[in-house]
């Protein structure tokens, strides 16, 4: 296993002032456990300070550094050079911004714009169920929680929305998932409202069960499973079971 790789990054660039888009090649040597965010930083330091990209926590928790590497949407803070070489069997990588929102510059997309779809589904409890009579806390049975706890791991990185076959007129897998989480959450009582969004024109009728969302999700959430539950009719409204 080589200690250092000769890499070529073909990075999509975009200059909003001139509205020019182009692909720029960067050649660099990199150790096997460097992450892709480290490569971008290295490029900024050694070759080109104008390359724009985004990251925040760099621990796979904030969802800011999502990009497409050789077509695959992923978190670049989690992608080691060595793993990328093994996965794509090449030393040349196409680096593109996510398609879930408009590009601001180079690899940075407008996450505010992407979040509009998540906000649309109201990813919070719209109408609270009553708490348990013996206290002020909610009691959710482990079995109920088990059914949807996986979906609560979503960090809204928009990798799934970028991988999805349906790129237009669709809320996108993560926004649909946020809605489903609250449908499965017994603390929420506004189920009808949520079902209207779910089965609405921009909701699950646009999902083609391609499962690309589940395939790319860095949090390993099987999003397509939850969407299929909705198609199967698993969320028919029933009396709240919080109490």
């Amino acid at each position: 296993m080589p200690q250092e790789y000769d890499l070529t990054l073909k990075i999509s660039r975009y200059d909003p002032d001139t509205r020019r888009s182009w692909i720029q090649d960067y050649h660099l040597k990199a150790g096997r456990i460097l992450r892709f965010v480290d490569l971008f930083r290295k490029i900024n330091d050694e070759q080109d300070p104008t390359l724009a990209w985004r990251s925040s926590c760099e621990h796979g928790q904030c969802g800011t550094c999502g990009m497409k590497i050789n077509g695959k949407p992923l978190l670049t803070c989690e992608l080691l050079v060595e793993r990328a070489v093994g996965l794509f069997k090449t030393h040349t990588f196409n680096v593109e911004p996510l398609t879930a929102a408009r590009v601001i510059r180079d690899l940075a997309v407008d996450l505010e714009n992407a979040y509009e779809r998540v906000h649309f589904v109201k990813p919070y409890i719209i109408a609270r169920a009553a708490t348990h009579p013996d206290g002020d806390e909610y009691r959710i049975s482990p079995r109920t929680l088990d059914a949807y706890v996986e979906a609560t791991r979503c960090i809204n990185c928009f990798c799934c929305a970028t991988a999805c076959v349906t790129q237009r007129n669709y809320l996108g897998p993560n926004a649909v998932l946020a809605n489903i989480v609250r449908l499965m959450d017994p603390r929420e009582t506004a189920k009808e409202k949520r079902l209207d969004i779910l089965y609405g024109e921009q909701g699950i009728p646009r999902c083609r069960t391609a499962r690309a969302c589940s395939f790319v999700c860095p949090k390993e959430i099987d999003i397509a499973h939850f969407i299929a539950l909705a198609k199967e009719g698993a969320f028919r409204p029933e009396p709240s079971s919080t109490r």
Binding site: K68, N70, G71, K72, P73, L87, F88, E150, A163, V165, T166, Q167, R168, N169, Y170, L195, L198, Y199, I204, P205, R206, R208, T209, A210, R211, A212, S214, F215, V216, E220, I221, D222, A224, H225, A228, L229, K231, E232, G233, R236
Partner: protein, 275 residues
């Protein structure tokens, strides 16, 4: 719900074969085989829509038997024979892959890697059987019994799907698309099978006319044609909806697609009842 086992399963099985195609493996590695299957499903569907138009057009020559006979003479050669057989590939792929999607969406069958293997395996068995039948020459079957069996299979399949989706809040046309798909799986694969059992069945005017003169077969063919064009029309409608952002353009294109499908469905029904 972890999907990593499924990823490995699919990749281990198919990568060896499909990696030879750089484009396919690029998408498979980037977005998974499910993504590739979805596009293949769409492309196969579009090929079938075009073929259905062509099929209705050629069958419309039955109004003038001499014209039909001369057309059939033109296609009576190895190249067209091969194309007729090759058509079974998109047909059976679209049908079986559709069944896989229904299993996933409505029946909670989550062994998707295994299901993809079954789609390829059963598809291969089907097309090879058709090739075998073509080489064997004419087989004698009772058309009435054959179509009765197919009609029963189609009715059972579509009833099961209908029962499962009836009380869900999915839109009516969305549900009908799955129900019609379940009906068409035995019907379309049976139709192609029947045509390959006996070469005359689809090429000789007298044989076709005799077969289509019974009321039972007319009813089966009527339901078949209506559901095929509904299924194709709704498929086009969803593709338009997935691609066209402008509301008015989307509505306009959907109306045009529905109109074209209705015209071809009408032409098909007219042929059936004029025999």
């Amino acid at each position: 719900m972890n999907t990593s086992i499924q990823r490995t399963g699919i990749e281990a099985y198919l990568t060896g074969i499909l990696e030879r195609s750089e484009k396919l493996s690029y998408y498979a590695r980037a977005k998974g085989w499910g993504f590739v299957m979805t596009w293949a499903h769409r492309i196969a569907g579009l090929i079938l829509v075009l073929y259905m138009f062509f099929h209705i057009y050629t069958l419309s020559a039955l109004y003038e038997p001499a014209v039909f006979a001369s057309k059939m003479k033109f296609v009576d050669n190895f190249v067209f024979g091969f194309l007729e057989w090759a058509l079974a590939v998109p047909v059976i792929f679209h049908a079986l892959n559709g069944a896989r999607l229904i299993c996933y969406e409505a029946f909670r069958i989550r062994h998707d890697a295994l299901m993809i293997r079954w789609v390829f395996f059963l598809g291969a068995v089907y097309v090879l059987t058709l090739a075998h039948l073509m080489f064997m020459g004419n087989q004698q079957v009772s058309a009435g019994l054959f179509w009765l069996m197919v009609a029963i299979a189609s009715t059972i399949a579509s009833s099961i799907v209908y029962k499962k989706l009836r009380h869900t809040q999915n839109r009516l046309l969305w549900r009908l698309q799955r129900v019609s798909g379940a009906f068409l799986l035995p019907m379309v694969s049976g139709h192609m099978f029947f045509m390959h059992l006996n070469f005359q069945a689809g090429h000789d005017v007298d044989t076709i006319t005799a077969r289509m003169s019974g009321m039972g077969i007319k009813i089966v063919d009527f339901v078949f044609v209506i559901l095929v064009f509904f299924h194709a029309g709704f498929g086009l409608y969803t593709i338009i909806g997935d691609w066209v952002e402008d509301r008015r353009l989307r509505a306009g294109l959907s109306v045009v697609a529905s109109f074209v499908m209705a015209v071809f469905a009408y032409a098909g029904v007219r042929i059936i009842f004029s025999m």
